[in-house]
């Protein structure tokens, strides 16, 4: 079934997806909220940037990240001069790449959910003495719950399936940056089809179960609300 290297790759993959999703929810929530509410006329520029990873080949994204995070790049160079390691070929580097790569999958559902609430419930809360922050946590967040669930699961699942970006900036260091998708590739290259089968089936099942959960819960939520 799974050998030890496969299990390590699986653990790294899940950790990467978890950390990435968490960071994206933390950073993406205020950004999505702002994008849903702002009337700034150049907002579309930001929206285009957020959507970019949807269409960009992962290798292109990975290439630029490699340049930036590597020892000769601006970020990598800075890290090195501060006495750290360049971020390329590290787990941290992978997290940075994944955050960018999966960004639209988290931000767009959140933005849509916030937009769907409309201004009215927040105005109502304002007339009921709730401060802006209070309104956000007690009205906007609970009403956007299906959006949060969708965002978290899509962000997580999308990061699970990452290949190109990881290959470019993470390399293939077993125990540090080797994720499942790359382990599968290695198995196929090495003609170890049985291992490739197990890992592929594992990812397939996991992804499917997560999506089932999202659609199932969102359906229940809609029924509850109506």
């Amino acid at each position: 079934m799974f050998n030890e290297a496969d299990l390590t790759a699986l653990a790294i993959t899940l950790k990467l997806a978890g950390v990435t999703t968490l960071i994206l929810l933390l950073l993406g929530t205020p950004l999505a909220w702002w994008m849903a509410r702002s009337r700034w006329r150049y907002k579309f520029l930001l929206e285009a940037v957020v959507a970019l990873p949807l269409v960009l080949p992962p290798t292109v994204l990975g290439f630029y990240l490699l340049i930036t995070l590597g020892p000769h790049g601006p970020v990598g160079g800075l890290m090195e001069s501060l006495g750290g390691r360049p971020l390329a070929f590290t787990f941290t580097g992978l997290v940075i790449g994944s955050v960018i790569y999966s960004m639209p999958f988290v931000i767009q559902p959140l933005q849509n959910a916030f937009e769907a609430i409309g201004r009215r419930p927040l105005e109502v809360a304002a007339t009921l003495r709730a401060s802006p922050l209070d309104r956000f946590f007690t009205v906007a967040m609970p009403l956007a719950r299906p959006g949060f669930l969708t965002a978290a699961v899509l962000g997580f699942a999308h990061t699970l399936g990452e290949f190109g970006v990881v290959l470019m900036i993470g390399g293939n260091i077993p125990g540090e940056t080797q994720v499942v998708s790359i382990a599968i590739y290695d198995h196929v290259e090495g003609m170890e089809y049985a291992h490739a089968h197990w890992l592929s089936a594992g990812l397939l099942l996991l992804s499917f179960l997560m999506l089932l959960t999202v659609y199932g819960l969102n359906r229940r939520f809609r029924i509850m609300q109506s």
């Binding site: 304002a126 709730a130 509850m224």
Partner: protein
Amino acid sequence: MSIEARFEINKGDFKLDVDLNIPATGVTSLLGPSGCGKTTLLRAIAGLEKSQAGYLNVAGDIWQNADQFVPPHKRPLGYVFQESSLFAHINVRSNIEYGYRRLAEPERKISLDKAIELSGVGHLLERKPGTLSGGERQRVAIARALAVSPGILLMDEPLAALDAARKQEILPYLESMHDELDIPIIYVSHSTDEVARLADHLVLLDKGKVIAFGATAEMLTRLDLPLARGADAEALIEAVVAGHDDEYSLTYLDFPGGRFTVTQKPLEIGKTVRLRVVARDVSLTLEHQADTSILNIFPVIIDELIPVGSSQLTVRLLANDVPLLSKVTRKSAALLGLETGKKVYAQAKSVALLA
């Protein structure tokens, strides 16, 4: 105590430009056709709409001037929106408690129980908003607004989304609120009927401007305003229950101009009620008719006449200074020699008791 409001708001083609001084007591209704700016004005008072230039003083507290803008959540007001806008994710009880929980103890002048009782929603507390009827939802929204012990209650056509039956279900609650709570209410409406039932004062708006302000009974019968010229023109009369005639099942209602006789209603003697007398139902005679089936006949003085259309006149009458309206044909007016200052008798064919 008064509410002083000056706003200038530009929204594309529409411009709201008002300068108002209205009493901070009773119900003041903002009345006008849709698009006249009444909702925008109400939102500006709540602080939901920012104006380029504005001044707002509510009973001595500055809510907005050139230097400051008190945000909506710091204004001691209650707001009932046109659609009830209940929070869908929490039940009725939590909706009503939402604002109440955010008040400091000494600010809680209206108890939760009182707000719930006045709106008649006690049996709905554990329900989710999605399971309520339109009328129930709106009553919950009213309870929620009352539970913040507002210093002023702003209502934006709270009945507009409801059918006639649901309106009748809610109006009594609004009336008891008016009677029991000493909270000034600003009530946006486009329905003269609602206004006649509820409002003490009327602000008439058109195209973003205030065209007139005054006591409701006065405004309804002013011939220079559109209300008195319409087909449904009516006069509003406050009367006191004077007695009942059990033999004929009648109730007597006294007003300064005389006594109305209406079909018996279970009303306490001494209670003040509102009567609506529609201009179409009032005819004029030169002599006091004795041989008529009409019971409600009053001596009046013609105050003013204006032509409405080519064949009709609207006549403003004063029954001991209480204004009434009558619609007559131009021909009748000529035959009777109706003119300002003439003493005639007004016969009211029907009278509607409003509350």
